[in-house]
């Protein structure tokens, strides 16, 4: 149990998608004007992350890795499809996002109305693809660790965007030098938040 909690804490704070790796910055900057919409997008990211990363983990283990296709018979033991990983991941993500959108629309119209516009955007959110790529790079041992990582990284991203949105709602009333208004000051705020998050690096897990 403890190692799962370690992975969650690590992926939320010390290896935060936004502040440590700058992943998912585009939608992070574009959709952080109000707290309400950013919470919607944050929840959608956690949700899609927790669906696609474990799915891609199984694809990696059963199809892509060198020798992973052994279950199909002796002649497949030599097959190494790992160079195809980018294409398989992105196809899974695009298909899953479409599927999730349809399911949510069918069974929970109220959730669909709050997430609706964000779901298609998520297919090209780097945070989702990066989740799968980090999962491959860090070589998690079993499905539990993968689930813990996918929840933690999604939650860390959501936390970051909600924090920024709250700051931006406030900063609208302050007197910023004209050329820095909007995008410029947002970058600098994110930089300062990143420096603050660096203090979590001291946590040894």
């Amino acid at each position: 149990m403890q190692e799962y909690i370690n992975i969650i804490i690590k992926s939320i704070f010390t290896e935060n998608m936004i502040f440590a790796f700058f992943i998912g910055m585009c939608s992070y900057l574009a959709i952080s004007k109000t707290v309400k919409t950013s919470i919607g997008l944050g929840i959608a990211v956690i949700f899609v992350q927790m669906v696609t990363v474990p799915l891609n983990y199984y694809l990696l283990e059963k199809v892509l890795k060198p020798g992973a296709m052994q279950w199909m018979g002796e002649s497949f033991t030599e097959v190494d499809l790992s160079f195809l990983s980018f294409m398989v991941y992105i196809a899974t993500i695009a298909a899953m996002v479409q599927l999730v959108e349809m399911i949510v629309e069918k069974f929970s119209p109220s959730l669909y109305n709050s997430l609706g516009i964000f779901l298609p955007l998520i297919a090209v959110n780097c945070a989702i693809l990066a989740g799968s790529l980090f999962m491959e790079q860090r070589e998690y041992q079993n499905i539990g660790e993968v689930l813990a990582f996918s929840f933690g990284s999604g939650f860390g991203w959501a936390l970051a965007i909600v924090t920024l949105a709250a700051i931006r709602e406030r900063i609208r009333y302050s007197n910023i030098p004209a050329p820095l208004r909007g995008l410029g000051i947002t970058f600098i705020i994110t930089g300062l938040l990143g420096i603050a998050f660096m203090s979590f690096m001291g946590i040894k897990l």
């Binding site: 160079f83 991941y89 090209v124 780097c126 030098p177 050329p179 930089g191």
Partner: protein
């Protein structure tokens, strides 16, 4: 190259810069800029992928069903990125290691999808190619400026060669360790935006 195409190529360098004005492709722009070398390689890779994916999508644009266009675009971009990744691994393995997941993330780099959706889906192949090339180059320019600043101030070198004279260090100059940290990339971009917008007041946003 006609003057219209030339304009397509030059506008992304300043008034329509993908990073500082269109806010596209920030994800990878920041993480790979600790040193100049990865920044150059990343800029080149993105330029190649943007230009060729625009060319391919634009020549296929009449045959792509609108409902599944995103998946078609992603698959073509992914194929190009796989090519780039394999080439980098074969010829510049060290840089490829330093870029780690960010090569794969070119697929979801918003510049590429943005240009495909906004330009290549509705224009002829050659102007789309030039548009992709210009946007990739505008992105590479910002990457190189950030990489230059961070490597010079953070490690006192450029492309691995020491740049600050020994006399400076003996006089008490110290490399700015903050520049190596990830958050400084954001602050450098913020400063670039500040400079650019004070030179082009029409870009200033209302609060």
């Amino acid at each position: 190259m006609s003057s219209k195409n030339l304009k397509l190529f030059t506008v992304p360098f300043n008034l329509q810069n993908p990073v500082t004005v269109q806010v596209l492709g920030i994800c990878s722009a920041l993480a790979v800029t600790v040193k100049l070398m990865p920044a150059i390689v990343m800029g080149l890779s993105v330029t190649v992928v943007t230009a060729f994916s625009s060319l391919i999508i634009s020549s296929m644009r009449d045959y792509i069903p609108p409902r599944i266009r995103i998946i078609v675009q992603l698959v073509i971009v992914a194929a190009l990125v796989i090519l780039v990744d394999q080439i980098l691994r074969a010829f510049v393995y060290d840089v490829s290691k330093a870029l780690s997941v960010y090569v794969g993330l070119i697929i979801t780099n918003c510049i590429i999808m943005g240009r495909l959706e906004a330009y290549a889906m509705g224009n002829k192949p050659w102007p789309s190619f030039v548009d992709g090339l210009g946007n990739g180059a505008g992105y590479a320019m910002i990457l190189i400026i950030i990489g230059f600043t961070r490597e010079l101030l953070g490690s006192g070198s450029l492309l691995g060669h020491p740049m600050i004279p020994k006399a400076f260090y003996s006089a008490g100059y110290v490399n700015n360790g903050m520049m190596i940290m990830p958050p400084m990339a954001l602050i450098v971009v913020g400063l670039i935006i500040w400079v650019q917008r004070s030179k082009n007041p029409e870009l200033i946003e209302s609060n």
